[in-house]
Symmetry: C2
């Protein structure tokens, strides 16, 4: 089971804890002595219920989810939530959207099908290199909710404060969930595609204030109704069992590391060393404004697209994989999610220094 040591800086699906992968491989054919794979057992069997309940309880404990909120395990990714959120919460009214990147822009566009969208902030003009301040948020008086994306994977920016709004907060935490403590009670709804900090692609975690459920539009598919999913404990139909199993293994690892406080400390160390170098670099140019920098996705570039490509190629040859920036931005990007060891960031830093030395 040995594998060549590589560091995988992919933006998602992305690197996972090795301990979780090893456990999964070891018990793939025979889950807990059942003679069956965890993929082969019924989602309504006691054996799987234990997996499901265990992952949910661990997540509730790690994120300190209050009893006012329910954790749902659903399918379809953020793109599905772009529709489910307004279908359930907008009820034909107005919602405020902060557009600070590609995915919040898409969320706002989708919501227009189901009610009025008021753009409360928009950082398009500066290439989404910043996050608006509280004072810059142009809030509607009667908004049903305020929507934002906590971390912009593509542009490498992150909200370092929780907005103050009268309306319930709805937050896409796909790329920074579990990387820091969060006061869940301040949110009406938090959701996250699992494929960055939690589990393989195919699972979306929704944490919803139960008081907000039950007002969906009549055309809402039953599977997208938060009320129905709360009532059925996410088991209206067969859930993505393997992803929930892998989530449990990943959460075990997060707990063993010391929980979200430990993840928070490590993320600062990991991203900090790259940003410190970028600030003094004579070659690399950081994209995000310092006060808006993401701890999860570090975006930067060299002076030319050719040199960017050379950097990606040479890095890959050293086992530093997937450093190419998104096609919308070009340039370079290092995604440093929870499962990226500090050693990975150190290896990247060393390579950046060498690359600079030989190209300046």
């Amino acid at each position: 089971m040995a594998r060549e040591q590589v560091y995988n800086f992919a933006p998602g699906p992305s690197t996972m804890p090795v301990s979780a992968l090893k456990t999964a491989a070891a018990e793939l054919l025979d889950f807990k002595g059942s003679g069956m794979s965890v993929m082969e057992i019924s989602h309504r069997s006691p054996l799987f219920q234990e997996v499901f309940d265990g992952a949910k309880a661990r997540l509730k404990s790690l994120l300190r989810v209050p009893d006012t909120h329910e954790i749902l395990f659903v399918q379809g990714g953020a793109t599905t939530q772009f529709a489910a959120i307004p279908m359930n919460l907008l009820a034909g009214g107005t919602a405020d959207y902060a557009v600070t990147g590609n995915f919040s822009g898409k969320a706002a566009e989708e919501a227009r099908k189901y009610g009025n969208v008021h753009v409360a902030a928009d950082t398009t003009a500066t290439g989404h290199d910043r996050i608006p301040t509280q004072a810059e948020l142009n809030l509607s008086p009667d908004a049903k909710y305020f929507y934002y994306c906590a971390n912009n994977t593509i542009f490498g920016t992150e909200w370092h404060f929780v907005p103050e709004t009268k309306a319930p907060l709805v937050c896409d935490m796909s790329s920074d969930i579990l990387s820091q403590p969060v006061d869940v009670s301040r949110f009406g709804l938090i959701y996250a595609g699992a494929q960055k900090n939690m589990a393989p692609a195919g699972l979306t975690v929704v944490i919803v204030d139960k008081a907000l459920a039950g007002h969906e539009l009549p055309i809402t598919p039953k599977i997208l109704s938060y009320k129905t999913m709360i009532e059925t404990d996410s088991l209206l139909n067969t859930p993505p069992c393997w992803c929930i199993y892998m989530l449990g293994l990943t959460l075990d690892w997060v707990s063993a590391q010391g929980g979200v406080e430990a993840m928070d400390a490590v993320k600062r160390e990991r991203a900090g060393m790259i940003y410190d170098f970028l600030d003094e670099s004579r070659l690399f140019i950081p994209h995000a404004k310092p006060e808006a920098r993401s701890f999860m996705n570090v975006t930067f570039r060299t002076p030319s697209a050719e040199l960017d490509a050379e950097f990606v190629r040479e890095a890959a040859a050293r086992g530093l994989k997937n450093l190419k920036g998104h096609k919308l931005t070009g340039g370079l990007r290092a995604s440093l999610y929870n499962a990226m060891p500090v050693e990975g960031a150190k290896a990247l830093l060393e390579f950046m220094k060498e690359f600079e030395h030989s190209h300046v």
Copy 2:
């Protein structure tokens, strides 16, 4: 990696080919020498594109899908398709639904949100123990489509003919896809949750006639638009990569066995021996009418609920797992999907004979 030999008769998630599980375990930590798990690589990487294209091409070949139709890999299970189908194909018109079990009933109920539903057949009165004949189908003159569920997992019945209708056929093949040859050109849309004959739960395969796409209601979520999914080759957002990978491994196994013709022969042998015994049994009572019997799910019972429970317990002790019937029907059920070896059916048959001998 040895595991105790059990036969798993679960209705889904269900038994998978051992060769697929072994390959998955062996390359879980290091996919094709990349130093990464297949769960850790980008869905837009060449390495994953190969997995995706390979599974799709294999499915197209095994089911002989014509070029008029597109294969989509989506999320959300049959319950999501219950809404997506009328959102995309009904356009406020009328659709004919044959209600021959639990899931077709739910599909009809969901479709009422988006247009008119005409019940073309309903077998509720006899406990869904039969399938209507062609002559019994009460078709609307102007139906946008005719919907049916090819195999009723809970009740153990299966359509052994393809209905003749003017309207395009829409068919839920979740529990018998890949168990026999099918003339895809006769269908407007075929879909199947993967967790019975194809892959772990979390993937739904949709095969749609491209000519039917593009007429969705304005309130259709983008992720549920067949047109959008055709245009993006199912990569509008991150797909359930692991499930698509496992689908590929399962399809490799189906091919190696001889394709759907071989699956068809084996299913007849497997289910045939159980039905033959049921027909002469002095203890067990089959549920489905002989002409409607499913090759995938054999439903039966003893004269009492207590004896049913004893049968399930004793069978499990012998490694014959998950023989309990669905809560809607009670009784017993043996699900015999593609990956169930003939030896599994033989072991069940032997046990049924012994059990009868000691209880009559």
